[in-house]
Amino acid sequence: MRPDDVQIACVIPAFGQPGLLAEALASVMAQTLPGVAAVVVDDGCRMPETREVALEAASLHPGRVHVLRTANGGLSAARNRGIGHALAAFPRARGIYMLDADNRILPRFLERGLALLDAASPEVGWLYPDIDSLGVQDCADVSGEFSRLSLLLDNYCEAGSLLQRGMLEAGLRYDESLRQGWEDVEFWLRGLDAGFVGQYWPDAGFRYRRRAESMLTESDRLTPELRGAMWARHKALYHPRSLMALEAAEAPRHAILTPGRDEARVVHDPATAAPARTRAAWRAAIWAAHRNPPARHHPAITVFAAPAALAALRGQGLLHWAFWLAALMLRGHPAVGVVLRPAPEARLRRGFWPDQLEGAQLLFVSTEAMLRGIAAAPGQAGAWAMGILAAPHAVRVELELPGEPPAADAVAEFLGEVEALALALPAAPAPTWRRQWRVARHEMARHAFQRQEIGLPMAVTPKGRNIGIIQPLHTRGGVERVLLRQAAVLRARGWTPHLFVTQSNEVALLPGINEAYASVNFLQVSGREGWSDPERAYFGAEISAYGQHYSSDDAFAALLGMDAVVNTHALAGHALANRLRRAGIATVLGLHLTERGPFGEPMGQAHSALAYEYAYDMATVISDKLRGWCLAQGWPESKLMLLRNAPGYPSQASAVRPPPQGRALRAVFLGRLDAQKGLERLGLIIAATQGWVEWRVAGKAVLGGPPPELGVEVEPPAESAAELDALYGWADLLLLPSRFEGVPLTILEAQRLGCVPIATDVGAVAEIIAHGEDGWLLENGGDGDVAAAAVAALRALDADRERLARMSRQAATRLEAARWEDTMGDFLRWLDAKVPA
């Protein structure tokens, strides 16, 4: 045979198998396909008969058997040498087949393979057959569309695959440093990196020799080490973001069935559009997948939901989180219903417990559980379906959100669909007689994440630059308003901010929240985020135990769509920060204040954060004082950034006000009615100024119980810009006798409108009040002393109205230029450098 006539060259590395090499060679020579040559690579075999057997075959089949010798370099080196020779010696060979010396191929094998290869698209780099064993009998099915995700889990592409010439000419070779096995897996991963894919080679006729002990059983024992070697060599492929993209492309999680419509949409990200198929086509497809789950995919979750229900979730930024929560619940339950209820005030609230699902607008069902339930007794499918809709099988999720809830039609639709699925149950047996051994396609992503100790990521397709703002709770406090303003600036700058709440079941809907945050997510699913580790504390400050709870794997996974995260005061956030940083996500710690407990003991996030310095790329602080504190604690200077506060809302009012002449002074307190704010002091001040100061108090208790009696009627909290403008515009003075503070927004907001603050000198308050010029500082001390000092200040200003007017003008002038876009400048530049657009 002339070299130009060779269509396929079989490369056979030979080391220590002379008896079996003859069989392998004979099976190559017996191929029905014309133009088949063998390249035997004697890998420095110490048995001389290996070479003899090969040379005998060369004598018997002139021109068809090439025998190469090489110093022993291992299987990969021998294969590479054979490939190089075959490419050079057989210029028209279209494929190179890799045959191990102890395996065999049936006579029609390469005839079928070449026909398939010639018909395949150019990106198909290799064809892989079913793994039918010789010796220890086992026939393993590898049918189905090629899946990258599946390849990361199971090496189902036999080393005995047919390689397309183009892929080898592109330079792809085996890794010669892998000498203990898995060199074939690694080779396929290189193929993926180079843009090639595999293709199933059905009914090929490959015979794999399986013995009690072999190189394979040896490398099976080394699985953990070899798996580590794969990860180290293909970091990008195994990266969580890559796994997320593979899941979306190859194993989309959801089938959404619209009540009353003959359609089913298979989508991974529920916010994306997908072509609708008929229910009949969908039923046929999922039953087919049920018969051979490793070969065909059906979405893990079937969702019954009307467009209005999806829109209601989407409108509040809850869509992805709700789908994620349902998927978590479906781990232990076959059905999860989501009931949407109108919220009595501007808030989001969630709760869940095992219960019946009546009234659910969205129903999530485990597709596999549904198919199994129906297949077990098709005649009783309806009864089975009713059974899973009640406790303890079903989980009821209740969500309170603004607006009228949509129609509750999910349960009825589910019951109808179950009956239709029972009728569509095919009679045919499983489509293959070979052993199904690979991970089921709808389980692939879960396994792939689990191997890296990653829980369940959200079903999102991240676009642009995403930043997660992590907070333990989201009420109406100052920190929430600071973060909201910062999120709005980030959004205007091209980032997409997402709010993650780790502890609370509620999110207060502050004005502008929907515009600033693209999504709202509750992370605490099981376990309490606030649990500190009882065994360990950092100089007495608490360390989170959350990282040891399994639900932290899910919280970590939920944040994987982010490019950056800012953790502000969430203990659970600390526990996740280093894992996020290692996943390539920029981690930022946002510090607002240092606190002390009732006994003066150091407490709060600033102290805990010191234990997690390693986990953060950057920390932002709101004051020079806090910056100095961090430096003193040993926080690296280059990982510290000053991000000063600016007023917490955009004002529409004018700072110009008439001088307070001919009437009583007006003073206001606004904010949380919590112990931190020094309410006892406020009560004493109000009592001592009755008759000559007019008082208003607006706010409510958030953290503790009801506030003490203050002697004036408490107004509800002012939230909108107009309400706040009106309050600051009305008052001449703001009183803030707090026990501790960071940089209160209230002071900045009051100053902007010429309302003069009288505040205790705590935290970094002195950085925003120049005493006697644009405000009044009170020395912090006992309640009586502070109250007396405040009353004295009020008397002084009451007596000198000119001075008060001057201070008012100075405050307004100084705050005129305070804008978030400016205070965040350094931070935005740092973020842009860390995560380029």
């Binding site: 002339r2 070299p3 029905t32 390249v39 035997v40 004697d42 420095g44 008969e49 070479r51 003899e52 090969a54 040379l55 005998e56 060369a58 004598s59 002139p62 021109g63 068809r64 058997v65 090439h66 025998v67 190469l68 010798r69 090489t70 110093a71 022993n72 040498r81 020779h85 050079a88 010696a89 049936l106 006579p107 029609r108 005839e111 039918d132 064993s133 009998q137 026939c139 009914d203 090929a204 006729g205 009679a427 045919a428 047996p429 499983a430 489509p431 293959t432 007689w433």
Partner: protein, 411 residues
């Protein structure tokens, strides 16, 4: 050491070659000779007599090299530090080496023969044991087979007249299969029609069961076909190939698919005497479809390849025993020397090509379809008739068999 790409095949596929160092005279021995010539800082191996030019690097000595003919160890041998070929000072040293090789090969051949004898003895014992076992286990009543695959018959179009081939790969393993059912929706056929069904091990295309059912035995409903013994426990998929020869006017309708049932023997062994069994095909590896397959040379024994016919003469040439198992068509190629008014025809039991004319260049290729009911070996006749006025000579140039592919349009 380097080698031209075009020489890769010649040297690497050579089971015995001798390398010559630069300057060594070429010995007159019947071996492939490869000369090492300096090429810049490197060396090149090239066939003796061919010019030296650049090539690819050779990392190790070619496996088939017997030795290097050189006055002293050549410097270029240092490129192959692992197991270098022996250096031979002269032809006498080569003769000594070869004599040693012959001795070693004889000893190895002897050892292989001994192991073959051992294997044959083991095989014979195995055959005896298997026969005993079958006799012993076959004393009980045949066990009831288990249905392992069943199709629901769908719409059934009537088949066209002539040959139809259908093929179906079943989602079942071949091992242990002991019976097949084929659904015929309608059957009104005479003895001229026939149905042949083959049960195949799909991956190897080996026939594990074959049945030929004459037209008059075909009736509507499930056609049950048993195997004499269950299929061996091969780990391959089960496939079914159906050939139908339908006479014009006969009617046979099969569901699309076609609809099949598959039975597997379990428990006690099951030996049967099946109807319509066509034992000759058992174990046959079906040839690839569409490929022209040469027939063994012995079929030409006693068959004249050149025949001279007088004007008006009619001649018949017979091949009495042509092996046609697995073939669907024969193709004969004839050439006419002198004259033009000549016709030729092929026929076998149940099939005839009809008279065919030679083309203007004096050539004709005649195809003969082989009926499904034909036995494994058949007689083939070539008929010639001279219609002209001049004697002329016909040369029977060749005869090949072809296996047909699946009939399109009936899935």
């Amino acid at each position: 050491m380097r080698l031209l790409v075009s020489d890769l095949g010649g040297l690497m596929a050579s089971p015995a070659a001798l390398l010559l160092d630069a300057g060594m005279p070429a010995p007159g021995v019947g071996l492939a000779l490869w000369r090492a010539s300096p090429l810049g800082p490197d060396w090149l191996l090239h066939p003796e007599g061919a010019p030296a030019q650049g090539g690819v690097k050779l990392a190790a000595a070619p496996a088939g090299v017997l030795g290097v003919l050189a006055a002293a160890t050549p410097v270029w041998l240092a490129a192959w530090p692992d197991d270098p070929p022996p250096v031979l000072g002269d032809v006498a040293a080569l003769a000594t080496l070869l004599a040693g090789r012959v001795q070693a090969l004889r000893a190895r051949n002897g050892a292989l023969r001994e192991s073959l004898v051992t294997l044959r003895a083991e095989h014979e014992e195995g055959r005896v044991a298997m026969t005993r076992l079958m006799q012993a286990t076959g004393q009980g009543w045949p066990g009831a087979p288990r249905l392992v695959h069943a199709d629901t018959p769908g719409p059934a179009p009537a088949l066209p007249a002539g040959r139809t081939r259908l093929r179906r790969l079943l989602p079942a393993e071949i091992g242990g299969v002991c019976g097949i059912g084929l659904h015929l929706s309608r059957a009104e056929c005479g003895p001229g029609s026939a149905l042949r069904l083959r049960l195949l091990a799909h991956e190897s295309e080996r026939v594990l069961g074959a049945w030929v059912v004459p037209g008059e035995a075909l009736v509507a409903g499930w056609l049950a076909l048993d195997l004499p013994v269950p299929a061996p426990p091969w780990r391959e998929g089960a496939a079914v190939e159906i050939d139908i020869d339908l006479m014009t006017g006969d009617l046979l309708a099969l569901p699309e698919g076609p609809a099949l049932r598959l039975f597997r023997a379990e428990g006690p062994p099951r030996f049967t005497r099946p109807a319509h069994w066509e034992g000759a095909s058992h174990g046959l590896a079906l040839p690839p479809a569409g490929v022209r397959l040469g027939l063994p040379p012995h079929v030409w024994a006693g068959v004249p390849r050149r025949l001279t016919l007088r004007p008006g003469e009619h001649r018949e040439v017979v091949m009495p025993a042509l092996p046609v198992l697995g073939l669907d068509r024969l193709l004969a190629r004839l050439r006419l020397h002198g004259g033009s008014a000549m016709q030729a025809a092929l026929h076998c039991p149940g099939s005839a090509s009809g008279w065919r004319d030679f083309d203007w260049q004096g050539e004709v290729e005649i195809a003969l379809p082989l009926p499904a009911a034909l036995p494994a070996t058949t007689a083939l006749s070539l008929s010639l008739r001279q219609l002209g006025s001049q004697p002329c000579m016909v040369e029977w140039q060749g005869l090949v068999g072809v296996r047909a592919g699946e009939t399109a349009g009936h899935r």
